[in-house]
Symmetry: D2
Subunit: 380 residues, 4 copies
């Protein structure tokens, strides 16, 4: 694995590295950690990389790695830059013949996402997108239970993602993440929807197996001087007629990372909360609610394969992240060994989720600005 | 106290009676418990009332009680009928000179509520409305903390009220409450918003001290054959610029009575959930969240006066309800003794909340049917 | 009902009165609220009692009430004094022909309890003991589930009761309850075990249906100058071979009223916590834990009869207390009408629990002082 | 790092490997994964080790690795065998000049632990012991808060560790861990105390900074045919006069891995539960309880250095484990670079905890068999 972005002080780059390292199946072999070449070099050294595999720009990395012997060169690129670089780096990697694992949102805008999808299809290479929350074992179980019809036809979805870290002008401090996430030239058209609303939308679609078909939204920039939203609420309609509510916030003071999803069908309901990720509630009309737990013997194969320790040994965010990396690595291995991957390894978000996500972000912003109530997702 | 409605088998009538009895300050002295006179008589006998104080219709009750000596006759009427009778009974009571304590929603429609308000004003009598959830000590504390500015200017409100009891066709069973709540001739224009959405709206306004100024709503009748909504979601805007999300449901299978409210201001946030009513969370950007508990020595005077037992002795729904009755009774006592009531006793919803509630219900229904996004509350 | 004790400022007297009033089946008709006659008179007036039914000592109350017409006089005495008066008042009441509902612990010492039991048996009158926690619907459900064998043979019981209110020298303040609970002449041989350890022991025996047969204990007075324990831990052995741990504390700073019980059998486990009283956990080896809730349609008849509101409307301490009073009143009614009480109404602690409790307290104190490990309960 | 034990199908070996890999600072370079050489070879191959670095016995591993160039050979041995092999492997490693990271309990019996301590001291090499739970950030915070005097003098400790996985005869199945943990020739004198009770005792001492000085214990083998305890309860006295309760169980059906600790001092209390590891409660007599969270900005340096992601991104068991490995690796690095380690890196259990643990296990067993109540820890 080679990494683009994620130099000193970056949060998400370190998470990607830990997630990739956890299972001993993926080795970081090179990186372009920063466009500041000294910074990139220092980061690479701290990661025990040989200096010649530490690059000061991603294009050099693609060029050089391409020329290394197959056994030696990186097999895929992990992209952990600000949003506006996701597509350029992914494009360069695909052109150079490398698979891509990208942080979200996939691209700067929808148009880029569509172009990227075309390129992925054409290249025949693998593309993964780190919608981390789908990596949790019990999120997978939730999806499987609904797919198996245990809740009956889905009627109502409540998905939320409150955070509080941008409740004041963090962008005026040395909080680098705050700076770029609120900068339209780096983040795109949205801060709150682009960073976390898109996770919520993805989670709702992943768990229910439904597609959002229409939305009505109200986005706000509460903190003075912001050009991008730091809060938003969206009414949802799904393609089967289900209704939903999605709300996300970066100014809900005191909230940490509270993404959660509740789904109600004709026969039952379920609830999952990321801050208590090893618990999944199933709720029934006429019998006690059931508390499912990560690694419980009663879970399905997908959830079971996604846990690393026995029940009661909490698994967290890094493990969920690692599940995406592990699936992605297994797909690469299968591809390279000419076999087919374990079907369980296919459960990793990819280029279709990339397009859906960018659609969601753009439509949320457009709908918020409109006096018309409902806005339809186009078929892309 | 005399009661109208609440005969054998009714749920809310019994709650009103327990709430009124709890503190030993209010005595049930008469009632018209059912329009079926035998049923009313049986109910009265079970409640140890003398037969001559058990009436078969509310008008007779008003007439007869009016003619009893002041010391003996009821002082106020408690109305616990289906919605369509609230206003007629309240009107009759006020005309006969009795104070009124009414279940919610206050009336069948907004027009009735406006007429009732005029009558209350004109009569000089007291009118209380049992928005029960404002009776909880920690809901009062939440209001006081916000009023004192501890959270700073309010930005975001999330209020929800999921229930699951109408997820199938209960109205085809002998569930009397289901029958009338889904019958437009008894319930009014809404089931879900009329029964529980109105509680949520009231809770949001009570806790924040703000008024909802605009809304965008999407109501649904999920269960086949229903004429009224059994689910709904509403985007809110408040008069200070705050935004909110309100959602309520009667088809969220497995949910019990999950009304909750979360409020975020510039400086802090708070959270209260009715199913864990003795806990109030205060959340801060830079220090640990605090868990306030009913009867904690650090609470303000209103919350303190509203608790009956020491910390750790759970107080519940009936106690919250009893707080409304106690305040209302104290107001009556003060009125009759010519004094002014304890200021803490004034914290009981009344005729203004009645009008706000009916506005909310009607606007939620109208907005849902409209293609226009935002709908303003008129000044009433 | 007549009350002895519970004058102005007392905590538990007010709770008894609310519990008795809640269902509208018990009327407070007289009282000797304090040995200070002015204080008693003021208390009686505040409770709207006629002056002639407010007594300055309990013996006068017994004498006078005995002479009133049967229809008019009190039917039972509620005893809410400090411990040392429980037995004298109960004895006087029984001699005067009145049933007795007593706060716990039943008496000052075991010898008194045995004498009281003899008198109760001889008198043919009813005796109830307010081990409140057995009044919660889900505690009853727990007992029923175990009795039905759902957990298999019981192996392990963990019962605890942490409080923090005596962590400093409250007995030097005007906290009257602290003063008498730490005074050996009023409280008996124990503070912590006598006040709350005895509740824990009762709860363990009630829920499991087992008897404690042996114990090993370690009691401590942490706060300087105390003559009685303010903390203790006890190893338990039950008559079926099960083992247990009981610990209670009045110096666990920050704890409120945390009585809880966990029971494990060969087939399953259960857990109930008083501060979340409307939830009962059933735990299984091979399927998800189940969360039972007060008023759930799946509960047994005893729990069902003990709930007053639908699921999700929290019931608390006063309601649990009221369940004991309601059962006791139903027993009296049945007795006086010559019938047999509803079997469900028999579920109220009585004179046998009184004796068990006093044995527990005395043995806990004796065992703590001993170098010998195990101490057996004598058959009493 | 070289590993002894932890071949195919073993649980804890995989955890050690993930923990070591997480931060990219430790590389697995060799192993003797099983005494079955084919099994060891298969395990090594699955871990991508070169065949010549996969050994079929630990002695060969020590011998061969010793002869490799310093740059190439393992720097320390990770021991993940059943208990009876811990000391022999550690001894061989130390004799061969390798540092040792061992699973717990440290040895088969106390005598071995004392001998091992002598050897460690003599060798000047590093010895780490994976009492995992001390690796959690908030356990470290708890320790720091108590050390800083925030709770005042400690009075009461409640530590518990319920599990349910041995509630039936798992030792008759192919559950290898159950087989050896219940076999006195592999596990030592205790199953429940040796496997998990020792964690609880360590946690109590780590968090409070106190030493247990006396104990009274009652251990039981509930499941028929067992030679070792599967449950136990222990009364504790600490060297400062504090009292405690420790209970642990392998037959508490439905419990997962419920280690928790509560500590009460003169000024405040705290609570931490491993199944919700990112929350630490501080409890106060006169103000609301505080909910501290992993990575909260208000935490001390030790807890802060032990977290890898922002608040609200759950960290779990593997991360806690990785903290021990990271500290141990930092100590080795400092040693080898001739510097002193970061003081924060010293927070890893070592040979003193090894001796304390074996004392605890042996004393718990001896005390349980005795009729004498209290048993003192000897100075070792």
């Amino acid at each position: 694995m080679g990494m683009v972005g994620g130099g000193e002080g970056a949060f998400i780059g370190a998470v990607h590295r830990m997630a990739a390292a956890l299972d001993g199946e993926i080795e970081l072999v090179c990186g372009a950690f920063s466009s500041d070449s000294q910074r990139s070099a220092r980061s690479g050294a701290a990661l025990h990389l040989p200096p010649q595999r530490v690059y000061s720009d991603y294009q050099s990395m693609m060029n050089n790695e391409q020329q290394l012997p197959v056994q030696e060169r990186m097999q895929f690129v992990s992209i952990v830059t600000p949003n506006h670089l996701h597509a350029p780096v992914a494009t360069a990697a695909l052109h150079a013949g490398f698979h891509v694992m990208s942080d979200k949102p996939a691209t700067f805008d929808l148009q880029e996402a569509l172009a990227l999808r075309a390129l992925v299809r054409e290249s025949g290479l693998l593309y993964g997108l780190t919608h981390t929350y789908t990596g949790y074992p019990l999120v997978k179980e939730a999806r499987e239970r609904i797919a198996a019809g245990e809740l009956g036809a889905i009627r109502k979805v409540v998905v939320e993602y409150p955070q509080g870290w941008l409740a004041d002008r963090q962008e005026d401090t040395d909080n680098k993440q705050a700076v770029w996430r609120l900068d339209p030239t780096q983040a795109g058209v949205s801060s709150c929807m682009g960073d976390i609303g898109v996770h919520a939308a993805n989670l709702a679609e992943y768990v229910t197996g439904l597609n959002i078909s229409e939305m009505c939204s109200d986005l706000t920039a509460f903190v003075e001087g912001r050009k991008l939203d730091d809060d938003g609420a969206v009414l949802l309609r799904f393609d089967n007629g289900a209704r939903g509510v999605l709300h996300a916030s970066q100014v809900s003071v005191g909230e940490e990372n509270g993404i959660s999803v509740r789904v109600y069908g004709e026969l039952g309901g379920l609830e999952w909360r990321q801050e208590d990720p090893n618990t999944l509630w199933l709720k029934w009309p006429d019998r006690p609610a059931e508390r499912l737990r990560t690694a419980g013997g009663y879970l399905g194969p997908l959830a079971t394969a996604s846990a690393r320790t026995p029940m009661g040994h909490p698994e967290g965010y890094i493990e969920a992240f690692a599940n995406l990396y592990r699936s992605f690595a297994q797909q690469i291995q299968a591809r390279e060994s000419g076999g087919s991957p374990d079907p369980l390894a296919l459960d990793c978000p990819g280029i279709e989720e990339a397009v859906r996500g960018m659609q969601f972000i753009e439509l949320a912003v457009a709908a918020s600005a409109s006096d018309v109530k409902w806005h339809r997702f186009d078929k892309q």
